[in-house]
């Protein structure tokens, strides 16, 4: 279904990328800080969303929860509500697609193939930071959305016995979805007090994801006083589309801050210091033992690999499709590109209705396809 739909939007690249999501991936060995979603150790094979029947009767969702390879607490939260499992799945899809969309012109194209992803997650690259952030952002977003779609049995007005719950709703309504989503994500991803620097940086990046969602909230108001005047007005908070969130996170990825550690022999604790840009060597700052800079910036510990050649982090950029005069030089790492000319028949001059009906002519074009040399 994905590939077919992308015929329309012209994003052949994205369509192509999304295939990678469907690839059945290896189970990851459990790294210390593999949480969930793109950072979790579940295979991303469950992604085709319509592959599972929608029946929530009984314990169908238990199966899904089990397939997600969750931790004990997470599994409990997942089983509590059939809606959660479904939402988790959607969160993964959302963040995966967004990651691939944002990195479609980069050397690292957010390949989520199991081994590479696991290796990236084991390190502290900028890419790792992005994965953590987009993962938690995706979960928050999906959760809030699921709440408003009525997919969740308990959402806002949560944590109360049924009667009280009802009373609370009748008396003063419930908190908004975003609040609930944030709380859920906080619970779900857990607050681990970890002395390990990398774990703390990962946690920080996870929080950045939710914070970006929070910062991107728009307050919209409606006046409904006498004759529609603004003597009475009600405001609500509205999430940005996830595309926007992805874009903002990508920007944060680009300006990611490097933190370094110098191991204190006596305590074994990592000291953290910050330094902008990759070239600058991180300076060990004594006295900041437990502090991660309180910023909304993404943090990384190590410089990223080039992702040019096949390595344990990526399969390299050989045979990657690129756009001439745009990103071929960058993607192909100076190795140059092959130009292939071929005839493509594709729909054109389409007439699209708002849904589900497209009338296209079939046009045959010559098209140049550029791929990176190996």
């Amino acid at each position: 279904p994905w590939s077919r739909s992308k015929m329309l939007d012209g994003h052949l690249l994205l369509g192509w990328l999304s295939f990678t999501v469907l690839v059945h991936l290896l189970n990851l060995p459990g790294p210390t800080a593999a949480y969930f979603g793109l950072t979790g150790n579940e295979p991303l094979s469950i992604l085709p969303l319509n592959s599972l029947p929608e029946e929530n009767i009984g314990r169908a969702h238990y199966k899904l929860c089990d397939r997600l390879k969750l931790e004990k607490k997470q599994r409990r939260m997942c089983r509590r509500d059939p809606g959660v499992a479904e939402t988790l799945r959607e969160a993964i899809t959302m963040s995966a697609l967004e990651c691939q969309y944002q990195f479609r012109f980069e050397r690292w194209n957010c390949t989520l193939e199991g081994r590479h992803r696991a290796n990236i997650l084991k390190r502290g690259f900028k890419e790792t930071a992005f994965l953590y952030a987009i993962s938690s952002a995706g979960l928050t977003h999906a959760m809030a959305k699921a709440c408003s779609a009525g997919r969740m049995e308990r959402c806002t007005c949560d944590e109360a016995p049924d009667l009280e719950n009802r009373k609370a709703w009748q008396w003063g309504g419930c908190g908004d979805n975003l609040k609930y989503a944030n709380k859920f994500v906080k619970d779900f991803l857990g607050k681990r007090s970890n002395k390990d620097l990398r774990a703390r940086v990962d946690m920080h990046n996870t929080n950045v994801g939710t914070k970006v969602i929070k910062a991107g909230v728009e307050t919209t108001c409606k006046c409904h006083g006498v004759s529609g005047s603004c003597t009475v007005q009600t405001c609500w908070r509205q999430l940005l589309p996830f595309h926007e969130i992805g874009k903002q996170l990508k920007q944060r990825y680009e300006t990611s801050i490097k933190v370094g550690s110098s191991t204190n022999e006596a305590t074994g604790e990592g000291e953290i210091s910050t330094g902008r840009s990759q070239q600058q060597q991180p300076l060990p700052l004594p006295g900041l033992n437990d502090q991660i800079p309180r910023t909304m910036d993404l943090l990384h510990i190590e410089d990223s690999p080039s992702f040019c050649r096949p390595s344990k982090y990526s399969s390299g950029t050989a045979a990657r499709k690129c756009y001439k005069d745009k990103n071929c030089d960058a993607i192909c790492c100076g190795r140059g590109h092959n130009t292939q000319s071929r005839e493509v028949t594709r729909p054109c001059q389409c007439q699209v209705r708002w849904c589900c009906y497209v009338e296209c002519k079939q046009c045959t074009q010559r098209e140049e396809v550029y791929t990176c040399k190996g």
Binding site: W2, L49, S148, C157, D176, S227, C356
Partner: protein, 677 residues
């Protein structure tokens, strides 16, 4: 404003009072007209008790400016609480003037306590006034052709519909747009609506993705086939409540450049008003929305790639409704009782009530009208017109309040205009304004009799004098009423109706609102001008105040005090309203204050509502005629004979009877002392 300098000669009616020294007798109670010197040189002989003895005026100088020096011989009997009033249309001695400072402070403190209480009830007990709930429409597929019977599509729960997640999926399955139903169940799972929610309005938002080859056309209209159903338990069938084809104009803009790079990003679309119901009588509501396509009729063509439909429903919180009702139930008898008390006082007077007194009563009535908690019925009955009715009630109160301000100013303006006349007593005041009636006219008028003057008074006492000022209020509120009827009135029939949806409707609505706005501006101009005039008069005459006879000074000081007091209170109330409105807008909901959460919005509503109630209460209480005159006989009334003026000498005396049980205010104390001396 009328710039007439007509004399107001009101000879004392025969009452058996000598007028020079008056003992407090019941028979004098009705004697509240007392002679008043005209603004030009007049010699007026007033026989005591001689209602027939008309004043004679001798004009000394003529020309554009007339210098008058009054040599008056007047008998001047002033009952300090009542007959101090030179004119019947000016208010009789009100409680506020007679109240001791101490008592006034006590009353003020009590009112302030109630005010604080009103704020606290809203801030601490009540939840926020309204709740907004987000809904994301579920895309259901109308699979089988079972159109013959209306089928309802449930987004979740048992018997939920066949769903699709995205339209790409629909495309793959070759599902037509006409077969896609957006289903929204209100409320969310495990919750139910209640009649305590009072009203529900729903806002529609489209998520439209940008596609190069499927952009939103300019002025695109989206046609919505929507039906609303309800049921009161989870198992019974849905009952249709409304069904309509609605058109809404899409006003969306794409903030970034329209290139293929940005495909898939969403347009920013304005909120669309969708539905408004005036009562929430049922537990569950279901909305089924279709976006049918008809290419021939160009329906729903060029509306872009709709990704999702989001709804936001807004309803009043049950808790807030309860607090609100409780407040209304408590306030209704309070205002009602003070109103009855007030009107009894008025009717107990031997003269007919004057305009200002009537207006105050009307203010009380409109306040009571707004207070009466008829909303209680909305809990039991499905009265959808309650929202409209509430609007009307508020409108009536607002226009009454605005009218009251104007008339209050106006009446005090006249009072002070007379006051200008008063000061002429001292002579040396130039009256050279244009529009002065000719001397002869004045003389004629002066020479006229009581009947004439009464005619004049009744003329002043009529509402029609204020047509210029009250006109805009009435017209403006009428415009808003029509607008409201067009919007909320029609919504009684079709909850999906919106006047803003159609081109003509928008223009009409805008026209009404603009006219109402112009009326409001006009009104405020008038009001400011009037207030300015009153103040000018006051400050102009204040200079001559010390030279005045004590009783007159007292009277005018009372007048000024009354006016200034109301000005102060009104301005404070208005300022409070504005300030709290801004706070509640800026603050976005609630403050955390220690462990308590203060609901700023609720505090604003209850506090301001309480404040205007207290305002009306205070006006009715403080501006009611003083009761002191009823206790004359028993009270240890003392007669003060004051010298009314050095110039006029003679028998120009003032007799004031102080019959206060309460203890005199400073001024009266002073007089009392002097009198004793």
């Amino acid at each position: 404003m009328r710039r007439r300098c007509a004399p107001h000669v009101l000879p004392a009616p025969a009452s058996g009072c000598s007028g020079i020294k008056l003992s407090a007798t019941r028979s004098c109670d009705s004697w509240f007209f007392f002679f008043f010197p005209p603004p030009f040189e007049v010699e007026s002989q007033e026989q005591s008790g001689g209602g027939g003895g008309g004043p004679t005026a001798r004009v000394v100088s003529a020309g554009g400016c007339s210098l008058f020096s009054s040599t008056l011989s007047r008998s001047f009997v002033a009952r300090r609480d009542f007959s101090l009033q030179p004119f019947p249309f000016a208010m009789a001695g009100a409680i506020i003037e007679n109240m001791s400072t101490k008592k006034l402070v006590i009353v003020g403190v009590i009112l302030l306590l109630f005010q604080a209480f009103a704020f606290m009830v809203g801030g601490l007990i009540a939840p926020s006034p309204t709740t907004a709930v987000h809904y994301l429409a579920t895309k259901c597929v109308d699979t089988v052709k079972q159109r013959q019977e209306t089928k309802w599509f449930m987004p979740w729960g048992p018997n939920q519909c066949d769903k699709i997640r995205t339209f790409d999926e629909a495309m793959a399955k070759k599902i037509e747009a006409n077969n896609i139903v957006f289903a929204v169940h209100i409320p969310l799972p495990n919750k139910e609506m209640s009649s305590w929610f009072q009203f529900m309005l729903v806002i529609l938002q489209f998520d439209i993705a940008f596609r190069m080859h499927n952009q939103i056309k300019d002025g695109a209209l989206v046609t919505i086939d929507v039906s609303l159903a309800y049921r009161d338990d989870t198992i019974s069938k849905w009952t249709e409540m409304a069904h309509s084809f609605e058109q809404r104009k899409l006003s969306c803009n794409f903030t970034t450049t329209k290139t293929s790079e940005n495909e898939g990003r969403h347009y920013e679309c304005d909120l669309l008003p969708f539905m408004e119901v005036g009562s929430v009588a049922h537990k569950y509501y279901l909305l089924n929305i279709r976006l049918p396509i008809n290419e021939r009729k160009n329906i729903n063509v060029g509306i872009g790639e709709i990704k999702d439909i989001r709804l936001v429903s807004i309803h009043q919180n049950g808790g807030f409704t309860k607090v609100w009702f409780a407040m209304k139930t408590f306030l209704t008898p309070s205002i009602l009782i003070i109103m009855i008390w007030y009107w009894r006082r008025i009717t107990l007077m031997s003269r007919p009530p004057v305009l200002l007194e009537k207006v105050i009563l009307a203010l009380g009535i409109s306040m009571t009208f707004i207070n009466i908690p008829v909303e209680w019925f909305s809990i039991g009955f499905n009265w959808t017109w309650m929202l409209l009715f509430g609007d009307i009630r508020q409108g009536i109160f607002y226009s009454m309040l605005l009218s009251f301000w104007i008339i209050f100013c106006g009446e005090h303006l006249m009072g002070t205009r007379l006051f200008a006349a008063w000061s002429l007593e001292r002579g040396q005041v130039k009256m050279c304004e244009s529009g002065l009636p000719t001397i002869t006219e004045l003389v004629t008028e002066l020479g006229s009799h009581l009947t004439n003057n009464l005619q004049d008074q009744t003329e002043r006492n009529r509402l029609s004098v204020y047509w210029k000022q009250v006109g805009p209020i009435v017209f403006g509120s009428f415009c808003l009423f029509i607008f409201d009827m067009c919007e909320r009135g029609v919504q009684l029939k079709n909850p999906f109706y919106s006047i803003w949806a159609s081109e003509v409707g928008t223009e009409l609505a805008m026209a009404f609102i603009i006219v109402a706005g112009i009326c409001a501006c006009l009104y405020f101009l008038f009001l400011c001008f009037m207030v300015f005039q009153v103040f000018r008069n006051i400050s102009g005459k204040r200079t001559s105040l010390p030279a005045m006879s004590k009783a007159r000074r007292l009277h005018y000081e009372g007048l000024i005090f009354r006016f200034k007091f109301l000005m102060l209170v009104t301005l404070t109330c208005a300022a409070m309203t504005v300030i709290f409105f801004i706070i509640s807008q800026v603050n976005g909901g609630h403050w955390h204050w220690g462990e308590h959460t203060v609901q700023v919005n609720s505090a604003f509503f209850t506090g301001i509502y309480g404040m205007w109630n207290l305002y009306v209460f205070a006006i009715m209480f403080l501006y009611a005629p003083s009761h002191k005159r009823y206790g004359d006989e028993q009270s240890s009334g003392q007669c003060i004979t004051g010298d009314a003026g050095a110039n006029s000498g003679e028998d120009n005396q003032l007799t004031t009877t102080i019959t206060h049980v309460d203890g005199p205010t400073e001024i009266y104390k002073m007089i009392g002392k002097e009198a004793q001396e």
